[in-house]
Subunit: 412 residues, 2 copies
């Protein structure tokens, strides 16, 4: 029998009516003859409310306790889903992350899945049940509950699909799939029928909100097909996979953007070995994630060093970097938080030159100044003024003929 | 090192401020040098809200799922308590029923504790932590979550105290202790300094709300001293124990009452062997708990059979009994739901005659008609019209000089 893993997010489970709607979707899949494993997030804003409650109790809620507290949100939605399915006449059972065999390391609030022991799920599937698993949570060797951090429930779903050798992992959410660009900005953005793991990974990392990069990476590693589709429609969604037809098709697949970018420039840095590590080691120790790093060619053995961080980390980054800049004899530090990133992504670009040039020209023609450039084999990213991000997306969507992408779905 | 188990109920944990207040009480106990294990109920009305949510999903929520759903309430209060204690500088850890080793049978929503495997708690206590345990829940052999039903958290606390060989189990609630009668009815009711397990058990069974009979019974079985006291005051409370001084002291210890009483009379029952079981077997199968049963002396091989049930069970009981009455050739069934129970309780009564007579005379002098009488060795119960229950309590409190009880605390 084929196994399907379906994941539903919090906005699909916001109240009793929505939970019953999802139960009907799950039941339909079961009626089609597959074994169904359902992974759920917490209902609506439950997780936020629990965090607020914790903050009313303690300024810095204990990590271990916070994880147990947050894990209750998913237990609640899973038991309600099982009740809904049973009341519709389907056999169903809810399992906590621990019961589902999701083993993690001990890093509370951002645990990594170490292994999935699927015996219990298989037993329940064999007895004819729909199995509802609490997303976002796992258990350590010492039987302590952990949560997986951002993108946790998607990661649970993909990990389960791999462990159970499912045919597909379906991620149901409040958007219809993956688009050539944000449809709120580009009215003629098109929904992609499919996309490669690498492309989706770059898109997720560089601003696409539809799926967290972690789950995509895991899916790519084990070649598990992931369908992203809407809970609220019957549209086919976008399939993330590693299919072979990808090599021959359209070059630029999507434009993604991210407004959560700030830049720090350390001016007049003496150009000596070891300088970079004296700056970036303390940032890493403070848990500040540094994205792009650019070092200008040195003039008179003095250079400018620029890097970007998330806007929310800018103040902390400045507090770490300023004393270091002083110690190493730099001239000073300058911050700029009014920036955004625009990226074009597509595996077709890697062996076809000229995309970077076309991108820069398109932005230049709109009078958009490029602050920094970074690239991977399948992505080109420009960091620009945040006020020009929408203009840039619109221009690039036109430049690369993305409103005419043939293997995509026109928005109704 | 001595171990103290403290249990706090939902009204003591209704919001963040109250949780911090309880944390301060727990910390004070820790400061006095004991190892402290805290058992908590769910915050305020959490359990009721979760039940409402389940009923929005399904008319008859699945038992197993409902137990997992309800168990989240206690997890939430426990994690918040651990956070509060840690933020005050104390080492603390929350444990679910499963983690605390509370093994139960598989009767969802009314599971019984089979054993307590205290290793994890002992380990955490040894490492200097205050251990916070989720009350009302346990785990089956198959790792499924169960809840213990009414009185569950009290039972968890007493069971843990026994398993850990604690010095005392302290039950903190919204009343100051056990009284000679309900102080809302009898203004000169007095709080008892102590009371025996048997007496408390009769009181709990016959209407005293302060503790559930189940936890008292368990305490008595293992001779674990139980202190009942208020979360909101420093008053000493009432100690439930099996101390020897009980034999020599006051006879009637308390008057308890219960308004949740209904009576069914089956008239003209043929007096044959097997008749009683043909009536009470179907009631038991339907899960209806029958309390008092009275069969009148038979006249011409025909008798009246009367029994009492909880008011909430009356309609179901009538639906079960009416066809049976027909089948066995009885004349008919009559129900009366406007009844109440008044009981006097005290171990001193068992070898001292005359208490029943004094009780009946006291009620007779107030013009209160007795419908049914039941007794145990240490209790006499009269079932009377519900409108006269308060009058009866006041009269009996005076008759037995309970406002002058010497080993009790005068209400301030």
């Amino acid at each position: 029998m084929t196994i399907v893993v379906q994941k539903y997010g919090g906005s699909s489970l916001a109240d009793a009516d929505k939970i019953r709607d999802v139960a009907r979707r799950v039941a339909t899949s079961r009626d089609k003859g597959s074994d169904v494993v359902v992974v759920l997030s917490a209902m609506g804003k439950t997780t936020d409310s629990l965090i607020t409650l914790a903050q009313q109790i303690a300024d810095q809620p204990d990590d271990r306790e916070l994880d147990v507290l947050l894990s209750t949100g998913e237990l609640i939605s899973c038991t309600l889903m099982a009740m809904a399915l049973k009341s519709m006449g389907y056999e169903a059972i809810s399992l906590s992350g621990a019961q589902a065999g999701i083993q993690t390391d001990t890093r509370y609030s951002r645990a990594r899945i170490v292994s999935v022991e699927g015996k219990r799920i298989v037993k329940e599937l064999h007895s004819g049940k729909i199995v509802i698993v609490a997303g976002f949570q796992g258990i350590t060797e010492d039987m302590d509950i952990t949560t997986l951090g951002r993108g946790g429930s998607d990661t649970t779903a993909v990990a389960l699909a791999i462990a159970l050798k499912a045919d597909i992992c379906e991620i149901y959410t409040d958007v219809k799939g993956v688009y050539t660009a944000d449809p709120r900005i580009v009215t003629d953005a098109r929904q992609l029928k499919d996309i490669g793991y690498d492309e989706m990974l770059e898109m997720a990392t560089y601003g696409a909100k539809v799926m967290h990069s972690r789950a995509v990476e895991l899916g790519g590693l084990y070649n598990m097909p992931i369908l992203v589709a809407s809970t609220f429609s019957e549209d086919p969604g976008t399939l993330i996979h590693g299919g072979s037809e990808m090599e021959v098709r359209n070059k630029v697949r999507a434009i993604v953007h991210d407004l959560n970018v700030a830049k720090v420039t350390i001016q007049g840095v003496p150009d000596k070995p070891g300088i970079a590590s004296s700056i970036f080691d303390p940032l890493a120790r403070d848990g500040i994630s540094v994205d792009t790093i650019v070092q200008n060619a040195s003039v008179d053995r003095v250079t400018d060093l620029t890097f970007t961080v998330a806007k929310s980390d800018l103040n902390r980054a400045m507090r770490v970097v300023e004393p270091v800049a002083n110690t190493i004899g730099a001239r000073g530090c300058v911050a700029d938080s009014k920036l955004g990133k625009v990226s074009i992504v597509g595996t077709g670009m890697q062996n076809a030159p000229g995309y970077a040039a076309r991108m820069f020209k398109s932005l230049y023609e709109k009078g958009i100044n490029i602050e920094l450039i970074t690239t991977s084999e399948i992505r080109i990213t420009c960091i620009i003024d945040e006020s020009r991000v929408n203009d840039a997306i619109l221009a690039l969507h036109k430049t690369f003929d993305m409103d005419k992408v043939e293997d995509a779905v026109k928005l109704s």
